[in-house]
Symmetry: C2
Subunit: 263 residues, 2 copies
Amino acid sequence: MLTFVGLGLYDERSVTLAGRDAIRAADRVFAEFYTSQLAGTTIDALEDFHDIEIEVRDRAGVEQDPDPILAAAASGDAVFLTAGDTMISTTHVDLRLRAEDRGVETRVIHGTTAQAAASSLTGLQNYRFGKATTLPFERSHGGDGVPGSVIETIEANQERGLHTLVFLDITAESDEGTYMRGDEATSLLAEHWRPDALGVVVARAGSADPVVRAGRLADLAEMDFGDPLHLLVVPGSLHYLERDALAAIGDGPAAVLDENTVE
Amino acid sequence: MLTFVGLGLYDERSVTLAGRDAIRAADRVFAEFYTSQLAGTTIDALEDFHDIEIEVRDRAGVEQDPDPILAAAASGDAVFLTAGDTMISTTHVDLRLRAEDRGVETRVIHGTTAQAAASSLTGLQNYRFGKATTLPFERSHGGDGVPGSVIETIEANQERGLHTLVFLDITAESDEGTYMRGDEATSLLAEHWRPDALGVVVARAGSADPVVRAGRLADLAEMDFGDPLHLLVVPGSLHYLERDALAAIGDGPAAVLDENTVE
């Protein structure tokens, strides 16, 4: 059996009880942290917390050499850990299909996600989000500024009144990863798109001290949101209750909120 | 302190460790199950599992008479439980803003969601979902067939190649609720939209035995997906790996999958 377990949003207590039980019952526990990382814990802390040994695999160890994982799953209970929900990236779907192809049973135990947090922490309504996008570091996409596809996604959503969740780039340049900060993201969009547009930065979703700040992109670009992980939401039109939530919870200035409120 | 805790997708083990800890540490535990329900457990089972007493409130008891909840949160640790993630509905945002308005500190502990499950169980990629919608019972929307807004959402997403998560109606007509089944939903869309279109039904997301079935809407309308909760995804265009996943995991017939595969 190969059980994919999503560790959730932030630290070792973000996993579900079902996920914790699967981890503790496993014969071997694998993990990858190249698609996403837990900002609030470390691999050592996870191992101590669950009293297990975690075998971390890099991309090549999952995509090009999955045999050890599949063999462990064929002969016993193997668990494959990821941050957030599981199966979010093609790399996990590919591993699951390889397992099914070999007749190895698979199972999925869900984790909490940035997508849910972007809605529930900000008060922006879940069903008013359109397609999400990712804002890369300039050095990652090999160009200057903001890729056209990011702006196209935001504007196509806004034409329908919809909000856009913008995931911020993570690179595995150091052991802890390098996270794009909210001020960097809003600075890029202020410079290369619209400085006066409304943005909402969410920092440390899933932790005990998340921060939500709403404001014009150019103003958010001057702020310090503290430790990672940061997310950005670019709202479409706001309903009254969304406006009130961004004012009360996100400390958003009335002028920019009112400009974006439609009914 | 008023802590909103999302109970997650399915049963009493779907909550996170952080959520479980908050529930057990609370002086009083409130809950509402009129916006969403846990198909895999009962209130009694939740009370036994966490060794707590749960004070269930109906809509009037949250929206028109929130004072007892707010008073409990002002004088001690109160927890407010919902199925899935928390703060998903305006009713919760409203309660949170009332608490903040009174100077009561609030906190959000996230739960796993149908949105994440719709992606991770099916292999359909998360970032290729557009706006979600809800398909109501004909008796709920007071008309025949499918509301125009549901079809408009699906088609607007499809124009951009995006998938649509369709939540299926839940009514509180009985204590357990009445859930729209996947065969009912696909039958409605087959009759009033396109019988040949591709659909994917997900049953019992978050449980140990979820079912995923891909096929033409008219064919899915003839199937039995078992116990609730059911979800429907109407895909936009499929990438190859999504196609392979719907074939392997969703038992989708090659013809309808190939018709919808673009690259």
